[in-house]
Amino acid sequence: MGGIKNPGPGFVPFLICFSLVLFSGYLFIIERPKVDVWSLAKLIKGAGVAAAIPIAGFAMEVVGFRIMTFFLMCLLLRLFGSPKWSIIIGLSIIIALGVDFLFSSVGLILPRSLWGI
């Protein structure tokens, strides 16, 4: 921790934590915001989108960018309200190939699957 004239590595974090507790306490006691709560269906939709992203990130290293993008786009387009599966699948293929080409052309190397796709 050190002292005020010779602060150690924990000194500044301690001060910041103190200020965080102080202002949070003020907000908790004095300012109590009113919150609009979303319906369960909407929360599930949001949670689905949020959960899909890190899963896709880890899956990308196994199945490759193109396959990951195809499945991610299918899921997200469905969650965002696209009507027909034929449109969703078609768009997902176009997006997977198009975005892969776009990033390759700017020099970003993205993972490929074991089968080279």
Binding site: I30, S82, V99
Partner: protein, 497 residues
């Protein structure tokens, strides 16, 4: 002048010119599309700049920022939905003009006003930035610490949310910025033994999550749609009376915007609101405000463009970001191995002058894009969000992953996104968090270096002449609510007598 000519030589290089065009074009598109601001776009595109040199990278990112100021007004005028936060005020007057069949005139006035303000700001930047750099070279750790503290104080006081909420966000940002190795002793802090946290929490994934992912998830949940109300623009060229109404507001907005943009926490949003309030107060046609006032439209749009350019000065000359978007550009420079500050103009003159010269060129490009090609951009508003949202998420995933080829950065991004949603629900502004996260390591380093060099003498650390003046300014900012109340009571009592 020779330096500026050198800057134009750099900016007119084919590669730099191309990326200036790409940046301004993307900025216009991003500014127009509600739900995707320049902060999220810059965060998403940051990894794509790794293969570029620092000069074209910053030219492109800068183009996105000031381009978004132009684009945001289009959606405000045609759809009554601000494409960008600083274009909220444009809805008040621009949409009313559009309803009267004068959308073309509104778009033309906004484009010309933005061009004049942007050019004016770049000229001021050209002359002020080198002089400020020379002054800042005399600063030591005490002065730097005081300056960054002043910047943070202004961010808290100029925030649109309560001071307590902004202080909580700033504190949280500071803590996030301290994760990793202590800069002086090398001790691990808040790493919990994890190797991935040794270098700290990535700033880019946090920014992408806070500004990009949270926005997309909220829009997906709320199923927001927008429709273009105005089907035709009417005539484009304003009348002589319109120009008479617009010229002085454009001038005032340009000046006010530039100096507000200089202030950390000021930025384009504050500049546009202040400018609108000023025009409403001094206008002889105050009754027209809210019903399609040309002055009420021209002034804030000029102010936000001028502020966007003015915000570059603290970053280029002192290495202090004035707002979240500039903080992202500072991060871009650091990633490219360049430390912005007073030495930038001497160590990297091609970058410094090239970026400034590119702003002149970028303003001309934006004028061309926003007038003759406006109908092309309007078609972008017809892209359904159910296609745009997934694409934004995909770009965020690629952007976060490509930083370190590490999927844990995506986890950090999503965690920041979920935090961003909570911040929106409870009314917390994420900008102080982002700013604090960037300047936390610099502030702590300046504080501890200063104390080491002064052998722990706090008096000398805080009371060096320049640092002392800055601390007085900080006290005035903190006490400004109390002082203004005292002055108001005094003037009220005096008027009654």
């Amino acid at each position: 002048m020779e330096s500026l000519i050198y800057g134009f030589q750099v900016a007119l290089d084919m590669q730099n010119l191309f990326y200036c065009f790409v940046g301004t074009f993307l900025g216009t598109v991003v500014g127009m599309l509600p739900g995707l601001g320049p902060a999220a776009t810059i965060a998403i595109l940051l990894p794509t700049t790794f293969t570029l040199g620092p000069t074209p990278a910053i030219i492109m990112l800068a183009g996105i920022y000031y381009g978004a100021m132009y684009g945001g007004s289009t959606t405000s005028i045609l759809v009554n939905l601000p494409g960008e936060a600083s274009s909220v005020v444009t809805c008040f007057e621009g949409y009313q003009l559009a309803r009267k069949g004068r959308a073309g005139v509104a778009l033309f006035i906004v484009a010309i006003g933005s061009f004049i303000a942007g050019t004016f700001a770049v000229i001021l930047l050209t002359f002020l930035a080198p002089r400020l750099s020379s002054l800042v070279l005399t600063f030591g750790p005490s002065e730097y610490f005081a300056l960054m503290f002043l910047g943070l104080t202004l961010v808290l006081y100029l925030s649109t949310t309560s001071h307590a909420k902004s202080a909580v966000m700033a504190s949280a940002g500071f803590l996030l910025g301290m994760i990793g190795l202590d800069p002086v002793s090398g001790v691990q802090r808040f790493t919990y033994g994890r190797l991935t946290l040794l270098e700290g929490v990535g700033f880019v994934p946090v920014a992408m999550g806070l500004f990009g992912i949270s926005e997309v998830i909220v829009n997906a949940i709320q199923e927001k749609t927008s429709e273009i109300y105005v089907k035709s623009f009417g005539q484009f060229i304003p009348s002589r009376g319109d120009w008479t109404d617009a010229r002085w507001p454009i001038a005032r907005g340009s000046i006010l915007g530039f100096f507000v943009g200089l202030l950390p926490g000021g930025g384009a949003v504050v500049a546009s609101f202040l400018s609108y309030a000023l025009e409403k107060r001094i206008s002889k046609k105050a009754s027209e405000f809210g019903c399609g006032s040309i002055a009420g439209l021209a002034a804030p749009e000029s102010a936000n463009n001028s502020a966007a350019i003015g915000a570059f000065i603290p970053m280029l000359t002192m290495g202090i970001p004035a707002n979240a978007v500039i903080a992202l550009m500072l991060a871009a420079l650091l990633i490219h191995g360049i430390t912005p500050g007073p030495m930038l103009v001497t160590q990297h003159p091609d970058l410094f002058w090239g970026v400034i010269a590119s702003m002149y060129i970028g303003n001309v490009i934006l004028l061309i894009l926003n007038l003759p090609l406006i109908w092309v951009f309007v078609q972008l508003l017809r892209i359904p969000y159910r296609l745009l949202g997934p694409l934004i998420i995909l770009f965020c995933v690629v952007g976060a992953y490509s930083l370190n080829n590490n999927p844990y950065d995506i986890v950090i991004m999503v965690a920041a996104g979920l935090a961003g949603i909570a911040f929106r629900i409870y009314g917390f502004d994420p900008a102080p968090l982002i700013l604090s996260m960037v300047i936390a390591p610099m502030m702590e380093m300046a504080f501890r270096q200063g104390l080491i060099s002064e052998r722990g003498d706090m008096w000398t650390f805080f009371f060096k002449p320049t640092a002392f003046l800055i601390w007085i300014a900080i006290c005035l900012v903190i006490l400004s609510p109390v002082l203004s109340r005292i002055i108001y009571k005094y003037t009220t009592v005096r008027d009654k007598r």
